[in-house]
């Protein structure tokens, strides 16, 4: 291909051209507006970077890489082929680096990209622990330190936990419900390609004048409306991550509602499908609120609105209410898919039906509803109307009830099972115990008087890492190990997997356990330096954190080496019942030669002869297709 052809065809060449054109367009708009108003200087680089580099360039990249080609062609009336499969499936590694509509390719793209940001965020955590190993300033100045924990949290939340679950679900859900793909494969691709833009933006904030955004992932106004340019990299990065999340959630909802295989009623759906269904409800309802909160900040910063300046009638607490109205449900967005994974893993590797299946599904729904009624428990010391605290305390504590149902049902599933202690099961057990601890400290935090003492301390840091690492990330590891054979067609190394589990389990506890002590004892969070009396615990925490961080390398080596050279995996190495295990590993490009029919529940272990789904032999078509085309009438379902 000539260079011109390359610049015109969808792909990386055109993506970079798109970025350049986008930046130029944004710069042109800023310069033109400032010139027309006669503002000095005309070349205001803060504004040019905001409009050009953070808004127009990412859009140019999305257009350039080819996310919109089909829709543009369709909208302009050019000929399109609805069943165009040219961008579907991966036949070489290169196919993972272009816009692809295959949910399995997108799933892998999601998982690899998010793990890249997980590593980046993890390295920042290591640097923070190096700085905090001793009181005083050793490695980074306070501004850089504030940037480190802000970018660390933002990457882990918006670029790792939330999207990696979307990645796993992307791969597994269509297979699980017997669908050939997601409902909107092109939207699915767009959702994925927005993610790297968000992540690169957040990382690039380190190069902004004044350093990376340094107001925490919470970006409380009015601090966030006053800090240097780096803040805008967060404000706009969140928009791309959020749009990606919303589009994926819509896709999951439509896929799960409309594309289930015949016979797969809601009460026969595997709990992972239930989990992603409920998560997607949370995402589509809540995510617009964080988008809004960040737009308010952006507008206050750039065009001088007064959302958060009290002197001009703004309201500072409004930011926190709008922010937490998303960000509390967001903790369930980061947890419910993990609940789904754990149900699959425990049931499969303990060879027993999930105990109390319907209550497990109902408790997911209960968490979704209750999850919207507790946001202000993040604001007990914020100065909001004091009466709100008590109802929020009660609703927060009530969430323990549906969560308890899930914990106890998993335990009852283990009871009298035939437990295979493979790596996914180890991580599931690690999750069960660590998440219980995180849940308990969550109940403590809900009790207002105790929360008044420990809010904004290391106790919070301990709690959030018990629920998000000991909870969510352990479920992610469980899921990755569990479906690794399905995704790659190869087996991972079991002894390395176990080593990874034990090292991370032990040093996770040694890292985050002591933070409960220093927090209650009076060490505030988000500090680059601390009082002498916390030095002993902090050096212990830092050393544990380094070993904890290093344990991830074992996982990384295991994944890469096994993917390349691991022994071939059978279609169903765990003898599981759900549909994704009934096809080859990895599955064919279009998943199924024929759509399966579901005849029973997904977890009927121990019931002799029970199957979840059957693949009928191809029968001669009952309704002969008319020769003139027009298609067969839609099959009627009983």
């Amino acid at each position: 291909m000539t260079l011109t052809q390359r610049l015109l065809a969808p792909g990386w060449y055109r993506a970079f051209l798109g970025m350049a054109l986008g930046f130029g367009l944004g710069m042109g708009i800023v310069v033109a507006v400032r010139a027309l108003y006669g503002w000095d200087p005309v070349l205001d680089w803060d504004a040019i970077i905001t409009v050009g580099a953070l808004i127009a360039a990412p859009l140019g990249y999305l257009i350039g890489i080819g996310c919109f080609d089909y829709w543009f062609r369709w909208a302009s009336g050019a000929p399109t082929v609805p069943e165009d499969h040219s961008g579907h499936g991966a036949y070489s590694w290169r196919d993972y680096f272009r816009v692809n509509t295959d949910h399995k390719v997108i799933g892998i793209q999601y998982i690899c990209t998010t793990f890249f940001f997980f590593i980046a965020g993890g390295l920042m955590a290591m640097l923070m622990r190096a700085e905090l190993a001793q009181p005083g300033t050793q490695f980074v100045d306070p501004n850089t330190f504030n940037g480190l924990f802000s970018v660390h949290a933002s990457l882990m939340i918006f670029l790792f936990i939330i999207p990696v679950f979307a990645g796993i679900a992307n791969y597994v859900i269509p297979l699980m419900i017997g669908a050939p793909d997601m409902a909107f494969p092109r939207l699915n691709a767009l959702s994925y390609w927005m993610l790297p833009a968000a992540g690169v933006m957040m990382l690039a904030s380190y190069f902004a004048e004044g350093g990376a955004f340094a107001t925490g992932w919470t970006a409380y106004a009015p601090l966030s409306t006053e800090t240097p340019l780096g803040q805008q990299f967060f404000t706009l990065g969140v928009q791309f991550a959020g749009a990606s999340s919303i589009a994926t959630a819509l896709n999951f909802l439509v896929t799960i509602i409309t594309m289930r295989a015949p016979g797969l009623t809601f009460w026969r759906m595997p709990l992972l499908v239930w989990a992603n269904f409920t998560t997607s409800l949370l995402v589509v309802i809540a995510t617009p609120f964080i988008a809004g909160s960040q737009f308010f900040v952006l507008l206050d910063r750039t065009i001088g609105t007064h959302f958060f300046s009290p002197a001009a009638g703004g309201d500072v607490l409004m930011y926190q209410h709008v922010f937490w109205f998303y960000s509390h449900p967001a903790v369930y967005i980061m947890m419910l898919p993990g609940f789904g994974i754990i149900s699959e893993v425990i049931s499969t590797h303990a060879r027993k039906p999930v105990f109390g299946y319907r209550m497990m599904a109902f408790s997911l729904v209960a968490i979704v509803i209750l999850g919207f009624t507790v946001w202000a428990h993040h604001m007990f010391v914020s100065g909001m109307q004091s009466w709100i605290r008590v109802p929020m305390m009660i609703t927060t504590m009530l969430i323990a009830v549906p969560t308890g149902i899930k914990i106890f049902s998993w335990l009852a599933t283990l009871w009298r099972g035939v437990i295979h202690l493979r790596t996914p099961m180890l991580f599931a057990l690690g999750f069960l115990t660590m998440f219980t601890l995180g849940g308990i400290s969550g109940i403590m935090l809900a009790v207002v008087p105790f929360d008044i003492h420990v809010s904004d301390t290391y106790f919070i840091v301990a709690h959030i890492h018990y629920v998000l690492f000991g909870g969510s990330v352990f479920t992610i590891f469980a899921g990755i190990y569990h479906w690794f054979p399905k995704m790659t067609g190869r087996m991972y190394d079991e002894s390395l997997g176990r080593l990874h589990f034990w090292l991370s389990f032990i040093f996770f506890n040694l890292t985050f356990g002591p933070m409960h002590f220093v927090g209650i004892d009076g060490m505030p969070r988000r500090v680059a330096d601390y009082a002498e009396q916390y030095a002993t615990w902090n050096v212990i925490i830092s050393i544990s954190a380094f070993i904890f961080g290093a344990s991830f390398l074992i996982f990384l080596y295991n994944m890469i080496a096994s993917w390349r050279h691991g022994p071939a995996a059978e279609g169903n190495p765990w003898r599981a019942h759900s549909i994704e295990w009934q096809v080859s590993s990895p599955p064919p490009v279009f998943n199924f030669d024929e759509i399966p029919t579901v005849v029973g529940g997904p977890y009927e272990y121990g019931v002799p002869g029970a199957v979840h789904a059957v693949f009928k032999e191809k029968e001669p078509a009952a309704v002969p297709t008319p020769a003139g085309g027009g298609g067969a009438p839609p099959p009627t379902e009983p």
Binding site: A214, P310, V381, G383, A400, F408, L414, G522, R526, P608
Partner: protein, 360 residues
């Protein structure tokens, strides 16, 4: 008997008796309860023995410490329960090598499910009521309260005693006197926290928040900013001194005198020139800069005691417009840029004079 019948009959009889793996044990559940109770008692003993909190220096602190003990007593058995069942299951029901069998197809048990909905519900409701009562106790209005206005700014706290007509960069409180803190901020959100009192309140632009506390133990405790407020956040730490009433009274009169009779006297002389050192402390300079003369050791900004060949003009510009000439190795936009409006001309002059005198 077909296998399905066997499975069904085993379900009808109730699980424990028919599982060969736990046949040797007469009452596996009872034994687990025994182990669990023992472990819970040990766990409760250990967690209560741990000295979690900093020193207890106010009436409110005792109530919160007791609440936490109750939370521990309720939490430990829950965690022990989960651990006991998980560990017991893994030990007892682990698959033997080559075991390709399945567990019994138990799909649920309505009675159990009702139990584990009801008990947590009762527990959290009881704890919520207890928490509510404690909260009301903590925040109840007291007789004979002294109001202390707390003002946060990047990166320092200042305090004002309206009834005593005294303002001070240092927080000094009389022991056993109920205090009502009215917390405000001049810039971004801060959070006023004394760990030994266990109480905390955000300082929010546009609002005045209130907390009540009765210090009951003389001593020196830390005042900590708990809400991220910018680059110097981690240095925003000061002290509170709790004194016997008589010492507090003499501190108040000394502060009044130091204020130059401005509050009480009103003599013929002009008010004394502002004190440079006091300004250096009360405006938060100490929290970011090192200055030996003022005992400041912070390292966010440059050391102000070692400025070579410094002139008054440069110092004045650097206070009013800190971005005009940023010392090499430091970032712009870190020092607040509003000292030109916050300080009077006389105050800036005093500050500049003080800095010139303080060069090493």
């Amino acid at each position: 008997m077909t296998e399905r019948d066997r499975v069904q009959s085993s379900e009808a009889k109730g699980p424990p008796e028919t599982d060969p793996r736990i046949e040797g044990e007469k009452h596996p559940v009872a034994r687990m309860i025994g182990i669990g109770l023992l472990a819970s008692l040990v766990g409760i003993a250990i967690t209560l023995w741990i000295d979690w909190f900093p020193e207890n220096a106010a009436g409110s602190a005792g109530k919160i410490d007791t609440l936490y003990d109750v939370l521990l007593i309720c939490s430990v058995p829950v965690f022990v329960l989960v651990m006991t069942i998980a560990i017991y299951s893994v030990v007892r029901f682990r698959a033997k090598p080559g075991d390709m069998g399945d567990g019994p197809p138990i799909h649920g048990n309505t009675r159990l499910e009702i139990i584990w909905v009801t008990i947590p519900f009762i527990m959290v409701t009881a704890l919520a009521i207890y928490g509510w009562i404690t909260l009301d106790d903590l925040e109840a209005k007291q007789k004979n309260e002294m109001v202390v206005k707390v003002t946060g700014q990047q990166f320092t706290w200042t305090f004002e005693y309206p009834s005593e007509k005294v303002a001070s960069p240092e927080l000094v409180l009389p022991v056993d006197r109920p205090i009502e803190f009215r917390v405000q901020t001049k810039d971004v959100i801060h959070s006023f926290w004394v760990p030994q009192f266990r109480l905390k309140s955000d300082a929010v632009p546009g609002l005045t928040t209130t907390i009540r506390v009765t210090p009951d133990k003389p001593g020196r405790y830390e005042v900590v900013c708990a809400e991220l407020c910018g680059i110097g956040h981690s240095t925003m730490r000061q002290f509170v001194r709790v004194l016997p009433q008589s010492e507090f009274d003499s501190w108040v009169s000394k502060e009044r005198e130091a204020a130059g009779g401005g509050a009480g006297g009103g003599g013929g002389e002009q008010a004394a020139a502002p004190d440079g050192e006091a300004l250096f402390t009360s405006n938060g300079c100490v929290n970011c800069h090192t200055l030996k003369a003022a005992g400041a050791t912070a390292e966010v900004g440059p050391d102000l005691g070692k400025l070579e060949d410094v002139e008054a003009k440069f110092l004045r510009t650097s206070i009013v417009d800190p971005n005009a000439d940023v010392t090499k190795g430091y970032e712009p936009d870190i020092m607040p840029q509003d000292f030109g409006t916050k300080l009077s001309k006389e105050e800036i002059d005093a500050l500049v004079k003080y800095l010139l005198e303080s060069q090493e």
